[in-house]
Symmetry: C2
Subunit: 172 residues, 2 copies
Amino acid sequence: MTAGESAKRKRKALEAVEPPLEAAIDLGTLPRQLGYVLRRAQAAVIQSYAGAFAEAGPRPAQFAVLTILDRNPGLSPSQVAGVLAINRTNFVPLFDSLVQRGLATRRPVKSNRRAHALYLTAAGKALFDKAARRVNTHEQLFAAKLGDGDLERLLELLHRLTGALADNVPPA
Amino acid sequence: MTAGESAKRKRKALEAVEPPLEAAIDLGTLPRQLGYVLRRAQAAVIQSYAGAFAEAGPRPAQFAVLTILDRNPGLSPSQVAGVLAINRTNFVPLFDSLVQRGLATRRPVKSNRRAHALYLTAAGKALFDKAARRVNTHEQLFAAKLGDGDLERLLELLHRLTGALADNVPPA
C-alpha cells in the first residue's frame, strides 16, 4: 500500500464516522417552522448580548427585572413576574440573585405582613443605568446587521405575533 | 364608618399591596429590545404549539431531532447536536428521552468502536410523520394570525438576523 493509498483509506474511515458535512445536512421543514427559527434567532441574539457585556453584567432576565423596578418601584413579586411572563418558581431564585449581589431589595408592606414590595438599591440603579446604555448601543448593532428599517419591521411583526397569540391563551 | 367607607378602605388596603394594574406597569425600553421581544414571541409560540399537541406529542427540541434523523439517518450525535445548535450536555438526555420512548436508537459504527450512528425506529418514523402533519397545520395558524405574507416576512428577517450574527460568533 502506498502512502497515498494509506492516507486515502484513513480519510475514508473518518468519513464513515462523520459522513455528511454540516452544510449537507437536510433540515427538512425546520427552516419554515416559526418555533425553530425563533429559537435559533434568540440564541444568536443572547450570544451577541453576552459578548457585549462584561462577566459581571446582568443576564437578560436580570436586566428585565432591573428595568421594571427602575420604572416601577414598589411592585409586588407577582406583578413583576406577571408583566415579564416569568413563572413564579423561576422568579424567586432570579430575584434572590439580585438581592445577593446587593442590586435589589424586598421591603415589607405595612398593610399586609405577608406581602413584599420590591425596589432597586443605589448599587442596582447604578448598574442598571450602565447596563441600559450598553444594551441600547447593542441594539444599534442589530439595526446595522439587518439594514435600513428592518429591525423596526422585525420588532413590529414579533409584537403583533405575541399579541395575537396571547388573545388565545391564558396569560403565563 | 359606613359600609361604603369600609369597602373603600378594604379596597385601598388591597391597592397598597398590588398597586398598579399590569396595563399600567411601565416596561421602559424592553419593548424595543430584540432579546426581550424574541423571548416573549418564542414563549407565545411554544405555548401555542403545546396547545396543539396531545400530551404524548414530542417537545419542540425532540421534534427537531426527529426531523433531522428522518432526513439524515446515520448521523453522529455531534452532527445532530451541531446542526441544531444544541450543546452536547443537553443533547445526551434529550436523545436518551427518545430512546426510552422507543422512537430512536444508537447503533455502533463498524469503523470506530467508540462512535455511534443515530436512527429513527419504525415507531419514531410513525410519530414523526404524524407530528409533522400537525406542526405544518399549526404553522398556518401563525400565517393567519399575522396576515397576508407577514409570516414569510418574519421568517425571512429572523433567518437574516441569525445568519448575520453567526458571522461574528463561533458556532455553538
